[in-house]
Point group: C2
Chain length 202, copies 2
DNA sequence: TTTGACATGTAATGAGTTACATGATTTC
DNA sequence: GAAATCATGTAACTCATTACATGTCAAA
């Protein structure tokens, strides 16, 4: 149930239209919380109904109207309340680890493909995370830059530091996954070697 | 959509009643895939309807009947098919990391509590994982022991190795989380120190 | 005698996914 | 002329969660 809080957190940086929010959810916020448009637009409407967001209808030059959302004081209170309430850890559900525990049912080729794809997936993710982390530090992250404008300079270091901290954790996670899958490939080789040995001796 | 596959994987070790399955989902399988009873019983029924499981009604001495489920050949095929199909990586949705990225909105005391709880949660989890890993290696893991009985000795090492591999990954994940949150506590101290400095100088 | 294990679910609700709908404008 | 971007959703469905329901038996 954190989607509304993810939206409040994102909009705490600056006001945005629904479309901009959905764009951010495809870029920066996506690293910690992903959601499709079909969840975002209704969630924004509900937050507005609850008074956590303020809506302004903006004319969009002939092609209809767009809605600009701004966090209200009640919305900021809700954000702080959520940060202070106990974190709801989600149930463990990891398809890759579930598969890993039962790899005795898979052919060696399947095992290798699975682990290779695990590495590829997280390597790509890792690269993206590292690139984004760099933009946080060199000031070229547009959403962060706009966020900082609204805060006194004394607070900037703190704001940046927590964002970098979050990315550091995600980067560590990705590296952990890659290292694990590499050890899995080594294990696959060892197990294959043993089978070969037995066949050779027979 | 991996719950049915988690059930097939678990039942590939030996036949079980619905209750035993739900017990295992509270113990060994839970580390990679958790589900409540209300999901497990209907899922077992659906797997039986699809022919992936075989049901046997067992009289339970006066107190009704229980159902014993056994994986069919079609069920094993489905398990192998699932292992070979591309892993569906789930959308990133981590409340702890979402909070971390916006900790500038939280009081220092809230930050510390959050990170301390993150450490406690994963430390407890880690301990459980390490204890379970040990039982896999010393032969005292009951579900694994029963699974091995049904396989030739030559395959035992392989079966155990993949289970241990999965646990090793989960253990690394838990350690990564703990290390990350510890660095967060250091960061909180550093940021608090700076505020104190400024106040001191003023 | 009450607690916990055994045994199997249903019902209501909420969260999340996939596919689709619509139409303008800008860029290649 | 086609593709991408802007802009906002609905509808149908599946998956997951929480709470509840029901009754027996064994052990403390």
């Amino acid at each position: 149930m954190s989607l509304p809080h993810a939206l409040l957190a994102l909009l705490s940086g600056r006001e945005m239209t629904g479309y901009e929010v959905s764009q951010q959810f495809g870029r920066s916020t996506a690293h910690v919380w992903q959601a499709p448009d079909s969840q975002i637009y209704p969630a924004l409407r509900r937050l507005a109904e609850q008074g956590h967001l303020e809506v302004e209808e903006v004319d969009d030059g002939g092609r209809g109207t767009k809605k600009r959302y701004r966090v209200t004081d009640a919305g900021l209170d809700e954000l702080r309340y959520w940060l202070a309430s106990p974190t709801q850890y989600r149930r463990q559900r990891d398809p890759a680890y579930l598969k890993a525990a039962y790899l005795e049912w898979a052919e060696p080729a399947v095992v290798r493909e699975l682990l290779t794809e695990h590495i590829a997936f997280h390597a790509e993710h890792l690269e993206l995370l590292e690139r984004t982390r760099a933009t946080l530090l060199d000031g070229s992250h547009p959403t962060l830059a706009r966020r900082l404008e609204r805060h006194p300079v004394a607070e900037h270091e703190q704001i940046v530091a927590w964002k970098v901290f979050a990315y550091d954790g995600l980067i560590d996670q990705a590296r952990t996954e890659i290292a694990w899958a590499r050890r899995g490939l080594d294990l696959a080789d060892r197990l294959a070697g043993q089978v070969t040995d037995r066949v050779g001796r027979a």
